[in-house]
Each structure stands twice: as C-alpha cells, then as structure tokens.
C-alpha cells in the first residue's frame, strides 16, 4: 500500500464505522459473518494446528540431542511457540487466504455489478453495511479460532510425540505445565485481534475500490491476500516488540 492507498483505506474505515441505519439488520449480518469466519474456518484451522503441533514436537525432539537437556523441554517449547507465534500467525495467514479472498471477491463483484451503487442510491452507507459486520466478526472470531488452534496445536504435539516415541506422555505433560506464563495468552490474543482486523478490512478495501470486470476482481483478490499476509507479518513483529 502506498500513502494514497493508505489514506483511502483510513477514509473507508471511517465511513465503515458510521452509525448503522438499522442495528437489527447489522446484528443479523454480524452473526452471519461470524458463522462464515468462525464456524466455516474451524475445520481447516483444526487440521492445520494439530499437524503443526505434531511436527513441531518431532522437530524439537530431533534438535534436542544433548543428554543434559530434559525432554520436558519439548513440551515447554512447543507450548510457548504455539501460543506466542504459530497459532496466531499461521492461523491468520491461512485465514487471510481463505476469508480474505472471499471478502475481496464478494465486495469486488458487488462493485462491478453496480450492487454497491444500488446501496448508495438507496441512501445506505455501503461501507458500513458491507464492511463493519465483517470487521466485527473478524476481531471476535479470529481470537476464538486462535485459542482453539493453541489447544489443538499442543494436543497435536502430545499425539505426535507419544505416537512416535519422541517424548513420553508424562514428560510432555510435565513440560507444558511447568513455568507457564499466562501473559503469553494475552500477547497471542492481542495479535489475534489485530490480525482479525487486517484479515477483514484489507480485503474489504481491495474489493470496494475495484474498477473493471472479472479480471480486476480476481487481481484485487490476489492483492488482498498478499497485502494482508505482509501486514500480518509486519504487525506480528510490532506487537511482539511492544508486548514482550
């Protein structure tokens, strides 16, 4: 995003956060979006998180070859990596691909087929009606998905470690329960909140200002995913720097 685009993005967000015309209709739309973002992504997030946890355990076990390091460390490292980085960031990047492209295509298609013009002519605040419910659903459901991802990643680590024999069940459980710092959860939730905002607002912006036809909608969708992923990684660094 260059500065002009960033300015347009901020103005679009300002318009999106105007007072809704009819709260009841917006609430209905928010719940629909929550279902789409939350329930619709649960399966994908579950599979990815479980496998990442399992692979992480195997790789940590592979790297910890010294007899001086207790195997309980495998559980601790997997727990902290999952909570602080893997669950929020990998989930966000996966969701940027799945949800971001869908949001951008939906709004972009509405733009090129004049449906957004129709909303505006009716006197409806189109950014508010189309974007606000998605942002609210994103900032509420992405943290929920991240918490589920954390649990499944740690569980995946347990399964991967015990099934392969890389670590015993008792050592893994001792590892994940020793020296746990609850603040890491706070950091992860802050990240998830920020990522939820990016995943919904950036693609909405890309879709909202599409000009042209099907090709431009597809290009906007691709751009939305790329910009979202870069923004997620940049914000990941900034949030980590600020909070840890």
């Amino acid at each position: 995003m260059n500065f002009t685009n960033f300015g347009k993005y901020i103005l679009l967000l300002k318009a999106a956060f105007r007072r809704p015309e009819k709260t009841k209709i917006y609430l209905k739309s928010i719940f629909q979006q929550m279902e789409f973002i939350g329930v619709g992504s649960l399966g994908l997030i579950s599979i990815i998180s479980t496998f990442i946890g399992a692979v992480m355990t195997l790789q940590i076990a592979f790297q910890l070859v010294s007899d001086f390091i207790p195997k309980t460390i495998i559980g601790s490292v997997n727990r902290d990596s999952s909570i602080l980085e893997l669950s929020p960031t990998i989930s966000a990047i996966v969701l940027a691909g799945k949800i971001g492209s869908a949001i951008s295509s939906e709004i972009g298609t509405m733009r090129v087929t004049e449906q957004i013009d129709a909303l505006e002519i009716m006197g409806i605040n189109a950014p508010g009606y189309l974007i606000l419910p998605k942002i609210i659903a994103g900032i509420t459901m992405v943290p929920v998905l991240v918490v589920i991802s954390m649990v499944l990643s740690i569980t995946g680590g347990y399964l991967g470690g015990t099934l392969s024999g890389a670590v015993s069940a008792a050592e893994y459980v001792q590892g994940i329960t020793t020296d746990f710092n609850p603040y890491t959860i706070t950091v992860a939730l802050v990240k998830a909140f920020v990522f939820g905002f990016i995943i919904t607002s950036v693609p909405a912006y890309e879709g909202f200002y599409v000009k042209g036809g099907a090709l431009e909608v597809a290009q906007a969708s691709t751009r939305a995913v790329v910009v979202s992923c870069i923004s997620i990684l940049a914000c990941d660094y900034i949030v980590t720097q600020l909070l840890l």
């Binding site: 009819k22 509405m110 002519i121 009716m122």
Partner: protein, 250 residues
Amino acid sequence: MIEIKDIHKSFGDNEVLKGISGKFEEGVTNLIIGGSGSGKTTLLKCMIGLHQPEKGSVLYDGREFTQLNFEERIEIRKEIGMLFQGSALFDSMTVEENIMFPLNMFTDQARSEKLDRVNFCLERVNLPDKNKLFPAELSGGMKKRVGIARAIAMNPKYLFCDEPNSGLDPKTSIVIDELIKEITEEYKTTTIVVTHDMNSVMGIGDYIIFLHEGKKFWEGSNKEIAKTDIEELNDFVFASRFMKAAKGKF
C-alpha cells in the same frame, strides 16, 4: 422537479461533460440520449451523487444536492429510486428480500405490511408469485422488472433509469418502457431515463435532451425530434435504414 445547471465533469484530461443544463419536470418521462461516450451515464451519475461534478449544481425541488453533507444527501437518496443497466439486484437475496431491503432499512413497518408492499410492487410490474426466486433464476427482462419493483418500493419522488432496454428483445423493451411511463404518470415521479434506444425515444420521450461530445446539442419532445434539421441529431436518431425509411411518418 430536478434542475441541473452548468454541469462540468472531467476524468483526468478528458472533459466528459462541458456545461450541461436542463429542467426535468415531474409526471413526464425525461430522456437523456446520445451516442456511446457522449456523457449521458456520467451526467446521470453526477445527478445522483455517484460522481462529484467539478462545477455546476443539481437541484432536487430547489435543494442543492452537490453541496449537501453525507447525512443530508441520504435524506434525498431515500426519495430516489433507480433502475440500473444490469439491474444490480443483490444476488444473495431472493426477489422478495431485494424489494423488501429498503423497507427493512428505512421503515419500522410490520413484516406483513412490508410483504403486502412487496406483493403490490411485484404485481405492478406483472411478476406476481416470483417472491422466492433468486436473481440468477430470472431472465433479463424479469430482472429489469424486479429492479423497477425495488426502485418503486419506497414510493420514490425521483426515478432514474440507466439504459433500461439494454440487452432486451424489442417486445420486452416496449413492456419496460410502458411500465416506466405508467409509473411516472401514476405516481407523478420525476423520471429520467438514459437511453440510446430509438423505440424508447419515439415511444415515451416527453422531454428529451440530446448530448453530443459532452454538450447539450438539442432539447425537445419526441414529436419535435423527427422534424429537426440538426445534422448530429439526425445522424443519431435516423442511423438505421428502418428509421430513415420511417422518418416522414413520425
């Protein structure tokens, strides 16, 4: 009544509208005609606020639209109904939900009242019992009629139609034209139709503005248009062999 005064609009170096003025009265069908690229859709978009003109004013019954803030514009837009070239129906909603949408947004009516209004609008456009269909299940002509039904759902004072006949067969075009004319006369709306369809021009054009290269070249009624000597207008109106042959009969 809608009045436009000295409307100028450019896109980069391309000056599309070069000072267009006109008065569109209520209860009559006002047409904006012109060839492709003459600026008629741009003029329409300037009038409804989708484009901001660089210069000039648009007055809705004396209210200066271009100078209004967001909230004030919304109040005028609630009085506007619009039929888009591609109908612009919301694809995720049924016909009933499309027509009910503005009612849901801006009225506190009970669902039964809104449903009555939806059914009335659908009957008005000769599409009863199509409530539960989705736009993808409708033909082009049916989509246009649903678009009209949605446009009149809120009893608009101003009705805009952007190329209502594009992509339709001649018979369906006449049905749509007649519907627009009937609604205009029945509800005394200020109706503005952007078209380059000559059947519409000759059939429903009570007041016509002809645009050529971003300027207003001519204005008058469909009765006067056949008698004009302006070369650019004659080239546009009587472009086809059929129209040339029929010229003397209008």
